[in-house]
Amino acid sequence: MIEAHLSLLLVVLPLLAAPVIAILPNGRLPWAVSTLVSFAVFAMACLQLINVSTGNVISYELGGWAPPWGIEYRIDAANALVALIVAAIAAVTLPYALYSVEKEIPQKQLSLFYSAFMLCLTGLLGITQTGDIFNLFVFLEISSLSTYALISLGSKRQALTAAYQYLIMGTIGATFFLIGVGLLYAMTGTLNMLDLAERLPALTEHRTVQTGFAFIMVGFALKLALFPLHLWLPNAYTYAPSVITVFLAATATKVAVYVMLRVMFSVFGFSFIEGSPTDEIFLLLCVAGILLMSFYAIYQQDSKRLLAYSSVAQIGYMMLGLGFGSVLGVTATLVHLFNHALMKGALFMAIGAIIYRIGSSNIDTMAGLGKRMPWTFAAIIIGGLSLIGVPGTAGFISKWYLVLAAMEQQNWLIIGVILIGSLLAVIYVWKLIEALYFKPANETAHANVNEAPLMLLIPTWILVIANIYFGLNTELTVGTAEQAVKLLLPSAY
């Protein structure tokens, strides 16, 4: 009985939890409730993925209204995988949040904080679940607005500027998306994605449709921080509370990449993309983004900002796969989506643990703490190796598929860029590791610093172990991605 409504429940549960949490007294209760909700959501996301992993598609009609009039949730392997990423990251981030949030966020805002967190989760899950493009916009706004609020709660004053910057850029992005949706609606008279996909092929020569497509692409390129539309991201990641950085870095951009994927391949279709310059533009921006942003990362003095620039570069990797527009390419995108969530999640959590102890993410201030916090340090090493793409880690699998996809297209330039990107990653990862391990610690300021509490370490290590597990067993990641690609690119099979 419940199973039939799973796809809706996934979104509704955190949505209902949000107002409840908002009226709870400040203390540990809001945290406890949201953690339970996130566990439940995670369980549901797992079930949902199992249901679609064999290649079938679940269609759920909201309120019993048949599509295309009513809103339809349409679940296949692609969105089930992304929903699982979001739910899983929420389920490991929330236990981690307890101590970290108590330290960084004023007591009187705790219930509002968790309430906003639940809304953000709702929005991100909603985006993945829905099969209605306007409904998608609504969820996009839910997630964005709550994100602005969450970022602004960062303990430094710059958090306000960062949130404001993101607000402006995010709103422009959302507006572009809405304009695009409006144009498509004007031409086709439908908002259901499946319906759109049926009607659009006849209209592809139409300027309005092409303009609509361009608006949607630019709008989401802003949301996912594709170079050079990434300017909001480094500040947002750097100044947001540690927990929010973990959650955003591991989920928000991934969901945006998923929307790109859905719009490009499910709604507009492979032949439309091939006929447009989209793929070439993406490849160009990705190449520039990977190289430039990796260089930027090397020169950062703040560890969170360093990882933020690395994220922008990594988004380049994800979009490369889209730019190839091939089976292998899209598989690589989906696999990297998942794997990058694991590695950045682990890294930001480990950095967050250091911030929990010393209150700063500056690389020089962190110097020498590797020996005091060996488990946190080991997490940074393994997360970093995964980011570099050393075999045995999840990052290697991503790189493997990306290079194979580029090889299939005989694109040696891009192969070179992917590999150079990995080498640049070696440099910025090792900058962190050297500072943490070899530089002498500040004995007066950090005399009493010791290992982070278990409540921070256990979630971090769950992600660290996941990085190794998914580097050695790709049944879930590659298997699901291949299922998803079969549905996204039916013409290629």
Partner: protein, 490 residues
């Protein structure tokens, strides 16, 4: 022992890892910690020897673990060449552990727990590389080996160690990701498999015109083989404590590099495909240049460990050259050189470490007359030098013999000349050290009376490897048999 081969492989690979954990737990009890190392190393030596007996009897022990990517598995299969490498690395770990206890305590090194733990992980990954049944598994172990040796290279934590660590990691990770991974991916997309197969997997699938490019990606991508211009990491790594230089940077790590090249030559390309496609024609000159230049640079170094490092660079390219020539004789010579060079070079490093611990000298120019105070050490040094040079009655002669025969088979007279000139250069940079130690007088005003031989664990280890240099001349059969089995196939 009636243990199954699978169990033996698992134990060989897992025991050192378990030891690494136990070593960390025994941090505060040095005697217990060292006992763990010694017991594990003994077990591994026994296991490896038993595996050797089975391989020698014609068995191929295998262990299939799990699938990573559809078509790519982590699995192990011990063929003769891998057995040869494992036999060298496995037995020398025990010897080096004995040596290390004398050295690390004599030198009062810090962070010894980290040292022994990282050492155990490195050995486990070197053995796993030796047993790998496909290129992916080998690559995985190759990278773990790189990373686990990084804390050993940067052991002292000084600015110089950090700089060397950067060079070490930069070159080894850089070449392996930039070239080797690419080569593996090309192999995978062309051949559809990465399994090692005698005779190779590429013939008939790869256009011979591209074979040279792919082979070059492998040769330079395997940075651990230290073919110029990617050799700088090896001299840089000499900043590590001497046991590390001895076992890892004369045996396990560098030999893992040339071993990988031999594997690629024999089991990915196949020696026939190499010769028929001319894949190695131009690469030969990189290796030949490395052989000569390495020797020349070694002559200019006054620091003993630096000289030995460049000597290793040069000697590694003997093996690479043997692989590139790809005749039966040259491949047998190259495979045997893995073992012969290992025993001789580890002895030289043991001696260098003994001199450092006992006399606190690092530069050759300070070693006047030292041989009379430390006769055992200098005798060992002399014997090992002669083995490196390739003179009878020492083991090093055999590998050089087959390598030279290989060049004759291939009618590469110039390369024969390279080997001969390099032997002369070996004499020029190794023997003067011994001569200076024994025959010249200490500098004026310097008294050597306080200097004595190093502690007994050091002498014991050094004595064993020196003895092996001699034994291997009269009884090279195990290594010859393995090498020829590997090259000729079953």
């Amino acid at each position: 022992m009636s243990m199954s081969s699978q169990t033996m492989i698992i134990l060989t690979l897992v025991l050192p890892l378990v030891a690494a954990v136990l070593i960390v737990l025994a941090d505060k009890k040095p005697n217990l910690r060292e006992a763990i190392t010694l017991i594990t190393a003994s077990c591994v030596a026994v296991l490896v020897f038993n595996l050797f007996l089975r391989v020698n009897a014609g068995e191929t022990p295998t262990l299939d673990l799990f699938e990573v990517i559809p078509g790519i598995r982590v699995n192990f299969s011990i063929e003769p060449l891998g057995m040869l490498f494992a036999l060298v690395a496995g037995t020398l770990w025990l010897v080096t552990s004995i040596y290390a206890i004398g050295y690390m305590r004599g030198h009062q090194e810090k962070n010894q727990t980290r040292f022994y733990a990282a050492f155990a992980i490195a050995i486990s990954s070197a053995l796993a590389a030796a047993f790998s049944a496909n290129m992916f598994t080998l690559f995985l172990c190759y990278e773990i080996l790189t990373i686990s040796t990084y804390p050993l290279v940067t052991h002292s934590g000084s600015a110089e160690a950090r700089r060397s660590g950067r060079i070490y990691l930069g070159i080894l990770l850089g070449t392996s990701i930039g070239f080797q991974l690419l080569a593996i991916l090309i192999t995978w997309s062309v051949a559809g498999t990465l399994d090692f197969k005698h005779g190779g997997i590429l013939e008939g699938k790869l256009d011979p015109a591209y074979a040279g490019m792919l082979y070059a990606l492998f040769i330079f991508g395997i940075g651990k083989a230290a073919v110029m211009p990617f050799h700088k990491w090896l001299p840089a790594a000499m900043v590590a404590p001497t046991p590390v230089s001895a076992l890892l940077h004369a045996v396990a790590v560098v030999k893992a590099g040339v071993f990988t090249i031999l594997k690629v030559t024999l089991y990915i390309f196949g020696s026939d495909f190499i010769t028929s496609s001319g894949a190695s024609d131009w690469l030969i000159w990189f290796a030949a240049t490395t052989v000569l230049l390495g020797s020349f640079i070694a002559m200019t170094k006054d620091n003993l460990k630096a000289r030995l490092a460049y000597s290793t660079v040069s000697q590694l390219s003997y093996i690479v050259l043997g692989a590139l020539i790809a005749t039966e004789m040259s491949l047998i010579g190259a495979s045997m050189h893995i073992a012969m060079h290992a025993f001789a070079k580890i002895t030289l490093f043991f001696a260098a470490g003994a001199i450092l611990v006992a006399a606190h000298k690092t530069d050759i120019s300070q070693m006047h007359g030292l041989g009379r105070r430390m006769p055992l050490t200098f005798v060992a040094f002399t014997i090992a030098s002669l083995s490196i040079i390739g003179l009878p009655p020492f083991g090093g002669m055999w590998s050089k013999w087959y390598l030279a025969l290989g060049t004759v088979d291939a009618e590469q007279w110039l390369l024969l000349g390279v080997f001969m000139i390099s032997s002369l250069l070996n004499i020029a940079y190794l023997l003067p050290i011994a001569v200076r130690g024994f025959f010249s007088k200490p500098a004026q005003g310097e008294s050597l009376n306080d200097i004595h031989e190093a502690s007994s664990p050091i002498l014991l280890a050094m004595g064993f490897t020196t003895l092996m240099c001699v034994v291997l001349f009269f009884y090279p059969d195990p290594f010859y048999d393995l090498a020829s089995l590997a090259v000729k196939g079953n």
